[in-house]
Structures are given as C-alpha cells and as structure tokens.
Symmetry: C2
Subunit: 197 residues, 2 copies
DNA sequence: CAAATTTGCCTAAAGTCTTTAGGCATCTGC
DNA sequence: GCAGATGCCTAAAGACTTTAGGCAAATTTG
C-alpha cells in the first residue's frame, strides 16, 4: 500500500489538467483516481465531493487568470493595458479551454467572495484609469468590458467564428480598436435610456 | 400497458421545461422518464442517447430564440432594432435560463448547420442595415454584438452583476447606448491593429 | 372485421460514477 | 520504539446510461 501523496492542491492541479484534456464537463472523481492509480474512495478524504472538486478547479483557474492579468497590466496604461489584458483572457482560454470553462462555474456567494473574482474586477477598473470615466459610467464600462471579453472568447472557443472570413484574429484586433474608441468617447446617457431608468 | 404517446418533440419540449426548472446540466433521461411515468428504456426509441436529448433541447431553444428575434425585428430599424433584439436575448435568458444554457451547447458542424444559428447571424446583420458599415467591418460588428449580448446575459445570469450598484438594468441600457454610439461612429483600423493583421 | 404487421413501452442486465462506512498499514512525534 | 494520527484500502448501496429482447396495443391490409 504505497502512499502517493494526495493533497487537495494536487487534486485540483491534476483536475485542471484533466479538464484541459477532456473538457471540464468530463472531469470526474473516478478518472482522477485512475490517473493517480489510486482507488476512488481515497480522493474523498481530500475533496468533499465531485462538486467540491470542480469548485477547486474553478478557483485555481481564476487565480491563474488573475495572476496573468496582473502581470500583463504591470507598467501599461490606456489602450496598451486594454489590449494586453484582453489578450490574457483570450490566450488563456485557447491554451487552457478546460480551465477557462471551469472559471465560468457558478460559485456560491461565499466561494465567490473567497475567489480571485475581486482581483479581476479591480484590474478591469484599473484599465479604465487610462480613460476619463467617472462613476457610474466606470462601472458600466467595467461590465461592458467583462461582457465583451467573456462573450468573445466563449463564442470563439465554441467555434462560432471559425470557417468564415475575416479570421478571428482580425476581428479581435478591430474589436479592441472599437472598445478603445468607445472608452475614449463614452456617450452621455440617451433620452431613451433615461426614461427607462 | 397504457401508451402515453412519447415523441421526440414531446421529449425535447419536456426536456426544455425540465432544464428551466432544475438547470440544463441536471437534465437526465431518467428524470424525464419519471415525469412521463414511463420506464427509462422507453425513451431510447425516441432519442439516441443523453447527448442527443440535450442537442434536441438546444436546437429547440435556438429556434425559439430566433422566432422571438424575428418578431422583435419586424418593423424596426436602427437603435430601436438593436435594443429590441438585445432585449429578446436578455429576456429569454431570464425567463428560460435552462433553455438559454442549452442554446450554448457546442454543436457539431452538421448540427450547427441544421440549427437556427444561421438565422441569428442573419438577424444581427439586419440590425446593422440601420448603420453605415461595409465589409469587413460589418462582420466585425456582427461578432462584437454577439459577444456583448451573450457575454452580458451570461455574466448577469451567473449573478455577476447582482448585489452591486448601479443595478443591472441601468448598465444594460447604457451598454446599448454605447453600442449604438459605437456603430454610428465605427473607428477605422488603428495603426496598431494594422501591423498585427 | 379479422389477420398481419408495425410500433411502443416493458423487463432484464451490465457498465459507470458517486458517496459513505469502516479497517489496516504507514507515517509522525515523543 | 510506541501511540496516535493519517492515508489509502475494501465493501457496499444508490443513481444514471445504454443495449437486447419480448409482449401488447395500434395500425395496416385483405
């Protein structure tokens, strides 16, 4: 009975690799046990259940993504920062599709609070320092950027932009141009949206 | 042995309702059988397997969404069309979260071709008729709109915008204002993105 | 209208994954 | 080196998936 040295962290790490290989949906406690050449029940000392394992993979991915974002943002401002940060998301999703899917897992409020989610929001807000936005427009813009990054990457990963021209890279560049232009020239509230608000 | 009259369509329909109630991930052939008060194996005459069931729910959702989009677009143009179409996505996701999740299922190229996906793209392109964009900018804009709609709705559904001010409705209105402004004033390709392309 | 055929739902069974309970061997600290 | 804690094990039950083969109800046909 040789001990292989399971820990929660190693399981999350191996789970993340598994997710990238077979897809986050296909990550299973059983498959993970197989990879460690260990019986399934053994994992339950380190992980509460299957959901818990998935949550830990999600938290890992959020941390990695936040670390990369912070590195990309260091010493950059304005459009340069915007582009670098956006590319972090896109590149991460392409390199680690399973982890990226994991990062999309719906967390409970407590898990979310303990996650790197706050860092992500802070970093997005930091990008906006290079533009001239005050509250509440800044928050609107943070949410817009999050939506575009996530939405684009997620559609691209789903194959939405393949097999059609122009290629996805070109659109991505132009979308970032467009966002930069929009942030430099953020429109005042329209009469229409004023009545609905 | 009373026959309850199972058909593929009724299964997809009931599956869609189940998805809205318990979440798309939790949709299971077994649970569906229970709801029809029928043995599990009986469903396998109407549906190839679990994946096939999910695909059929996804196709149903895509059709419904396209139908609503078409209705919303009729007789509208410009920002009016943009807003109406965007609200279709958001409202559908809020009314039918399970179906909306289903619509995000990754389809095979054949399934995708047979889906309402093409209608969605056509309708988004129709919105842009109210703005002065020529190819390839039109395609870039189609992809941007898809990204924002999907990204926003998906983050909102995940609870990303709750418990913080301003409320999500206000941001949504301002995001649509911003997109309208952007489309009316689409930026030329920047020097930066020109070199990368 | 009855016989023949098709169709729909059934029973049975095997495989996989999840999760809990309890046991023994291996480490750790004194 | 011993006592206790820890780590991985066996065993077992419950749920979902999927296939194979059967009987009865519906439909087609003469």
């Amino acid at each position: 009975m040789v001990r292989v040295g399971l820990t929660t962290e190693r399981l999350a790490q191996a789970g993340a690799e598994l997710a990238d290989e077979v897809g986050f949906e296909q990550v299973t406690v059983s498959e993970l046990a197989r990879r460690f050449d260990v019986k399934v029940a053994s994992l339950y000392s380190h992980v509460k259940n299957s959901q818990d394992l998935k949550t830990k993979i999600a938290l890992l991915a959020l941390e990695e993504l936040a670390d990369r974002g912070a590195a990309a943002l260091a010493g950059r401002a304005g459009k340069d920062a915007l582009t670098a940060f956006a590319n972090v998301y896109r590149d991460y999703a392409r390199e680690h599709p399973g982890r990226y899917a994991a990062a999309q897992l719906r967390l409970t409020p407590e898990e979310a609070a303990a996650s790197a989610g706050g860092r992500h929001a802070q970093m997005t807000r930091a990008i906006l320092r290079g533009y001239d936005l005050t509250e509440p427009d800044q928050t609107h813009a943070v949410r817009l950027l999050g939506s575009v990054f996530h939405g684009y990457v997620s559609l691209e990963l789903g194959g939405g932009f393949s097999h059609s021209s122009p290629d996805s890279q070109e659109t991505w560049s132009r979308v970032l141009d467009a966002l930069d232009a929009l942030l430099r020239n953020w429109p005042a509230q329209s009469a229409q949206s004023a009545q609905s608000a």
